[in-house]
Amino acid sequence: MPRSFTPKVVTANALLEGDAVWLTEADTWTRDIREAEYITDEAHADIRLLEAQARKHEIAGAYLAEATAGAKGPEPTHFREAFRTRGPSNYNHGKQAETQSRT
């Protein structure tokens, strides 16, 4: 029996900065996974990935990442994807630092 489809987000690295970005429903790239389009349909996921990959002068390395629905939007399920939303654990660098400076 084929495995049932689990929800996804489209993610990539920004071309200029190299950091993690997620594709929104409005076809923009966000640095906050909670603003990403939460994809529950396999065929739609495939199309969105193809569309993301076509935007090659904005990003590199687009792929579908596992996600789950949180109170404020999609959340990562795997620790690797969780690290991508924050940054490294040895310094306050990357997204975790940027989030603090915004609030």
Binding site: E17, K56, H57, A60, G61, R84
Partner: protein
């Protein structure tokens, strides 16, 4: 030290200009990522988890003060004020922006440095004994040969698309500090019966998913034959090495599948074919390079001040006991600066620390610095009378940790905090282990112990050759850490043996503590190191410590 000729300078500048154009074409959309990727990798630029990463070659781990200061400047101007020294004697910047990279490369070229062939299926930066030119047990300074190999391998037209990456390490000493038996080619300087220096040529070593100890391809190779012989090896590998499966493409697999004898036959035949093409230009060049590596003008002066400081200051005594090594010149010592402060990231130095080390090298160290594969910085030539002043300056800069070779002097790859290939984190495990041993205050009692951590099977953290190796894996979406024991990266290279099931991130530090305190009660006396005790007793008693019976009963 070798300084760039006009040829080197022009070559590197041309390459930077080419890459500047390639970056511009990537940004304006005329190059796709698939087209750009091999070009950026040729210039040491990776795309990692959170950012780009620029890997800069530190040829055979040698730097002069101006270069170290420039590395600090680059860290401040285009990165986050620090750099990460790697297990291949290189330095990595973790946060460059794509647009800035050509400027960073130009800044490197200003001090005779580059990032060429720090990635891709080419001959990578040639590494060397980090005590080269200073070690008391050395036949000759191996860096002249390493520089010759660098010039030969850089942009070598035949070797830009090898089946897989290719790493060469060189040592001139009897005690192997360069892990030569875990390299594609390892070169160990030896003397023949007539007393002439030459090389034992080791081939097919490597770590990664299929760890292998290198095998001796030629027991004695005259120095003059080195370049044609290495060219013969790489040339044979280039044709014979597998290209159908990247996991079977390294020369260690080629040697394993074809056998050492077949390799010897093919290499000797190829060597015979090409030997005459090397008409002596390489030897003329080598003579010039050797002159550039002439030893500094060592001075003779009293060492009373050093002895007095050792008596007066217990902290200085402790540091000088652990962080100094025997130098070949009378009155001198080799200083290892620990970049492993307890709780800090192994191998990370701030720009301020880099400048302090550059100043110390200039003032007290005959203008030389080395990066070790163990992720520390070396001042190879310091007179003992200057050690109290060097120590005081290091203390000011938070660089005086007295732990070289001890439990907290841990090698760790960047792991999943940075690396896109990683399956688990390495850095926090290293930080926690070092912090724990510092709390226990037992690492001096434990003595020589090499703990090495890799965050994936590729083994950048050399876990296979750690006395205690830790391998971070992803087990069903959770970080899990496997322990190997009895590894050794010296002239008696041994691949560590897996102890048993892995530990969770919460369990791994207590497991290591249990193992090491358990060793203290197993050892014959205080002089028996962890590795010696393991070799005497075998896996069983250590396994019993790691996996106590009651745990098994609880789990059942």
């Amino acid at each position: 030290m070798y300084t760039y000729t006009d040829f080197d300078e022009a070559f590197v500048r041309t390459r930077v200009a080419q890459f500047r154009g390639q970056v511009a074409r990537r940004i304006d959309g005329s190059l796709t990522e698939d087209e750009f990727k091999p070009l950026r990798l040729m210039n040491g630029l990776y795309l990692q988890l959170h950012a780009y990463m620029l890997r800069v070659a530190v040829p055979y781990g040698t730097l002069n003060p101006a270069q170290m200061r420039q590395l600090a400047y680059i860290a401040d101007r285009w990165d986050k004020g620090y750099g990460h020294f790697t297990t291949r004697q290189n330095i990595q910047y973790n946060w460059p922006k794509l647009r800035d990279v050509p400027d960073m490369l130009d800044a490197l070229a200003d001090v005779g440095m580059h990032a060429i062939q720090t990635s891709g299926n080419t001959i990578r930066n040639v590494t060397a004994d980090h005590f080269a030119g200073a070690a008391a047990d050395e036949i000759e300074d191996p860096r002249a040969i390493a520089e010759l190999l660098r010039q030969w391998s850089t942009d070598h037209p035949e070797f830009q698309f090898l089946p897989r990456k290719f790493k060469i390490a060189v040592t001139g000493a009897a005690h192997d500090r360069a892990v030569t038996k875990a390299h594609d080619i390892g070169l160990r300087m030896v003397r023949n019966d007539a007393g002439e220096p030459g090389f034992e040529v080791i081939v097919g070593g490597g770590l990664g998913r299929t760890p292998m100890v290198g095998k001796v391809l030629r027991a004695f190779l005259p120095k003059a034959d080195l370049l044609p012989y290495c060219e013969a090896i790489v040339s044979v590998y280039n044709l014979l090495g597998r290209r159908d499966n990247k996991y079977k493409a390294r020369i260690k697999i080629t040697v394993h599948e074809n056998g050492l004898e077949k390799m010897q036959e093919l290499v000797e035949a190829r060597f015979a074919d090409i030997r005459d093409g090397f008409t002596g230009h390489d030897q003329a060049l080598l003579a010039e390079i050797e002159a550039a590596f002439a030893p500094p003008a060592f001075v003779t002066k009293p060492t009373d001040g050093y002895e007095a400081a050792r008596l007066a200051n217990p902290a200085f005594r402790s540091w000088s006991d652990t962080n100094l090594s025997a130098h070949k010149a009378e009155g001198y010592a080799i200083v290892s600066i620990s970049i492993k402060k307890h709780g800090a990231t192994p191998g990370d130095a701030t720009s301020d620390q880099m400048r302090v080390m550059a100043d110390l090298a200039e003032q007290y160290g005959h203008g030389e610095l080395r990066i070790s594969h163990e992720q520390n910085v070396i001042l190879p030539h310091v007179h003992k009378s200057d050690l109290p002043a060097v120590y005081a300056a290091l203390r000011e800069a938070d660089l005086a940790t007295a732990n070289i070779g001890l439990a907290s002097d841990i090698i760790a790859c960047p792991g999943m905090d940075y690396c896109a290939l990683a399956t688990a984190r390495s850095i926090p495990i290293a930080q926690e282990i070092a912090t724990r041993f510092d709390e226990l205050k037992i690492e001096h009692e434990i003595g020589q112990l090499k703990i090495k951590i890799s965050g994936c099977i590729n083994a950048c953290g050399h876990h296979h050759v750690g006395h205690i190796g830790i391998l971070g894996l992803d087990r069903a979406g959770v970080e899990n850490y496997q322990i190997t024991l009895g590894g050794d990266g010296t002239e008696t290279t041994t691949i560590g043996e897996r102890a048993g099931p892995g530990f969770s991130a919460d369990e791994i530090v207590p497991a290591i503590e249990r193992l090491v305190t358990g060793y203290l009660s197993l050892r014959q006396d205080a002089d028996e190191t962890f590795l010696q005790a393991y070799r005497r007793l075998g896996m069983e008693p250590f396994k019993a410590i790691l996996y106590p019976r009651e745990d098994k009963a609880n789990a059942a």
